[in-house]
């Protein structure tokens, strides 16, 4: 049994939570569908997004240097980090030089990827998440379970209880508007006190040296408006050629992710305000190696919209924590394998190969096809599940000869005469609580044909 399968079994056991988690996310998928329906040129946009990304990736170095030149000319400072450690050190060095103690940050998957928050906390920097969902998770001391909706697995009653504890809200009040206002009030002093702000980057525009940061709460804008040091961190795949390209991506991002026409705030940072500094850190952390992997370089086209999670029937029914990589769903299965097959191959079973993700993805990433490909690699990597391998070899043996196959059917028919308790137990993998074995027919089609047609 894979790590995902084991964890998922626990998630499925809570039928009520399962139904609710599934429905909450499918509702987002449906919102996305309604948005798509309003854009007749949707498929053209997807194709353009995919091609722009592929083109940019094919001359990534050039575009990154162009971005660096233009951003520098605009007065920003650009840093390069080869890996997570270098990124964290760069961030720490900037904060330390600035004499900073309090960091207010908006959502960044890259910060999670690099383990940045614990690193900074260990050096005495208080780090506060300003995105509401992220803040909830931070206060719960839990990682996000979705990349766009970090607190999707937390029920509002649980949020109510948490806020009561942390912010003294009314006991038993879990009205979302009330709780949001309470969170906003509690966050306000954090914004005011912060001496450093951090944002991720959705798109870095090479031709103008500008950074696009998309949020729904305006929290990135609020953070960068108070502190006079703004650190922006980005994976090197976030660079895009120009403003026209940005237009394509902003039309797709929010529609795909949350079913909104556009994110509430799409802010472009171009030059620091007087007396302020903007530092951009370009982080590789494995990406240039992934670029060399022809079967999987498509992953670098990802916009991190989250649509593939919302549509994934397995993710919706197993939850983010059933995956061992910090990003779940089809995206996370693939990114985890790029990061370390050895550590994260326990997620590749979490796919029924329905290919909904590949069809929903605004960047036309072949997510399902890539999962199929990873499965083919597992054996070569020495990571195939021995039980599964034995099952497949056995199947292959039986199917490899007509006598074995048709003899097998006859045996199966006999085996069915065994009492149900023997057949439908844990050793027979088809049997699961809730699904009966299909009975073998008294006569196979092959036997029928031989008898009836060859007379």
């Amino acid at each position: 049994m894979s790590t995902h399968s084991k964890a998922a079994k626990r998630f499925v056991a809570d039928a009520e939570r399962l139904a609710w988690h599934d429905q909450a996310l499918y509702a987002v998928r449906e919102k996305r569908d309604r948005m798509m329906a309003t854009v007749p040129e949707w498929e053209d946009l997807r194709r353009m997004a995919s091609e722009i990304k592929l083109h940019t990736l094919s001359r990534l170095g050039d575009y990154l240097c162009e971005f660096e030149r233009n951003a520098t000319a605009n007065g920003m400072q650009v840093h390069w980090a080869a890996d997570a450690a270098e990124m964290n050190e760069t961030v720490w060095e900037l904060i330390r030089r600035h004499g900073g103690r309090r960091l207010i940050k908006s959502k960044s998957m890259l910060a999670e990827e690099c383990g940045m928050t614990p690193y900074l906390e260990a050096r005495g920097v208080e780090t506060v998440e300003s995105d509401l969902g992220e803040r909830i998770m931070q206060l719960l001391h839990m990682p996000p379970s979705h990349i766009v909706l970090p607190a999707i697995a937390v029920r509002r009653e649980e949020v109510g209880a948490l806020f009561e504890r942390e912010m003294g809200t009314e006991p038993g009040n879990s009205d979302p508007t009330y709780l949001t206002h309470a969170a906003r009030r509690a966050l306000r002093p954090k914004f005011l006190e912060a001496d450093v702000s951090m944002t991720g980057v959705n798109f870095a525009v090479a031709s103008t040296g500008a950074l696009a940061v998309c949020t729904n709460e305006g929290n990135a804008d609020m953070g960068t408006s108070f502190a006079n040091l703004h650190i922006a961190i980005m994976g090197i795949e976030k660079v895009i050629p120009d403003m026209e390209a940005l237009g394509v991506f902003t039309r797709l991002l929010a529609r795909s992710g949350t079913g909104q026409p556009v994110t509430t705030y799409t802010s472009l940072y171009r030059r620091p305000a007087p007396g302020c500094e903007i530092h951009v850190i370009l982080v590789d952390n494995g990406r240039s190696e992934w670029l060399a992997d022809e079967a999987h370089r498509n992953m670098l086209k990802c916009l991190r919209c989250g649509a593939c999670m919302n549509t994934c029937p397995v993710y919706r029914r197993s939850g983010g924590y059933s995956y061992s990589y910090f990003i779940p769903g089809p995206l996370g299965i693939n990114l985890g394998m790029l990061r370390s097959p050895k550590r994260y191959h326990g997620n590749v079973s979490a796919c029924s190969l329905c290919y909904s993700c590949s069809n929903v993805c605004p960047a036309m990433i072949d997510l399902g096809e890539q999962i199929y490909e990873w499965r083919q690699r597992l054996d070569r990597l020495g990571l195939a599940d021995p039980m599964k391998k034995a099952a497949v070899k056995g199947m292959d043996f039986v199917m490899g000869g007509r006598r074995r196959f048709y003899g097998g059917i006859a045996l199966g028919r006999l085996a069915e005469k065994l009492p149900r308790a023997v057949l439908e137990n844990g050793l027979n993998p088809w049997s699961a609580p809730g699904r009966a074995m299909p009975p073998f027919a008294p006569r196979s089609f092959n036997a029928w044909w031989k008898k009836e047609m060859k007379k």
Partner: protein, 246 residues
């Protein structure tokens, strides 16, 4: 039209009546049908589990068995998709002549696109909920995937419109996966059954008496749930409806 009938392993063993209906149906629409004996498996289960290379011998066997037919036709969308997409990788040395992968069709697709019968003389006076299987929809184009901005079309619906007395409906979330997925149903059986239950429930919500589709494996998985929970709905393969006499 010389048609070689492809009967996938589990249909051979569990649903021979689907094989018989396929044979009769193809004959009724005027095809010359033959069944090359001793077929086993196309190799899809191994491949989806991550052992595509182990399916090579099976692919070679399939290719030999069907070498002399203009069309190879089978009642299982996902097996046909595997032959079409996987065999070119498995049989690279055979590329100079048209391999089985270039001549294979799923039976509904074949009827709809190649035979194009004007009538079927079939009658099935029941309410039937369409099961749009993932591989049929997203890799074969039997209907438009709900994720895409493509005008709605459904080859299964088109074919069923030739059947007298039938009432065709589709469930909510019309092409969400039922959770079969071959080895997935075994390795991830908790999620697989949860998906299947939800799917069967949505089919039942339509008030249908039957669930039908072009993938017997999905139907088998859902039937397993229906049987276990004694639900008031049944599965039936598309060919059995198209072949029902009026």
């Amino acid at each position: 039209m010389k048609v070689g009938l492809f009967i996938p392993c589990y249909i051979n063993a569990v649903y021979p009546e689907v094989g018989r209906a396929s044979y009769e149906l193809l004959q009724r629409v005027g095809c010359e049908v033959d069944y090359p004996l001793d077929q086993t498996c196309c190799g899809q289960p191994m491949a989806n589990a991550g052992f595509e290379k182990d399916a090579r011998a099976l692919a070679e066997h399939m290719n030999e068995l069907f070498a002399r037919y203009d069309y190879v036709v089978g009642p299982s969308a996902s097996c046909v998709v595997f032959v079409r997409e996987g065999y070119p990788r498995l049989l690279p040395d055979y590329r100079e002549h048209a391999c089985v992968d270039a001549r294979i069709w799923e039976i509904c697709e074949f009827l709809h696109d190649v035979v194009r019968p004007a009538r079927l003389d079939a009658r099935f006076p029941h309410r039937v909920s369409l099961h749009n299987s993932c591989h049929g929809v997203r890799h074969m184009g039997l209907s438009s995937p709900s994720e895409r901005q493509i005008p709605y079309q459904s080859k299964l619906r088109d074919l069923l419109s030739l059947v007298e007395g039938i009432d065709v409906v589709e469930p909510e979330r019309r092409d969400e996966c039922c959770g079969f997925g071959g080895m997935f149903s075994v390795e991830e059986n908790a999620v697989s059954v949860a998906m299947g239950r939800a799917k069967v429930g949505r089919h039942m919500d339509t008030g249908a008496e039957y669930i039908t589709g072009a993938d017997a494996s999905c139907l088998m998985h859902m039937q397993g749930i229906i049987t276990r929970e004694k639900l008031p709905i049944r599965t039936i393969h598309m060919v059995e409806i198209l072949n029902s006499r009026s």
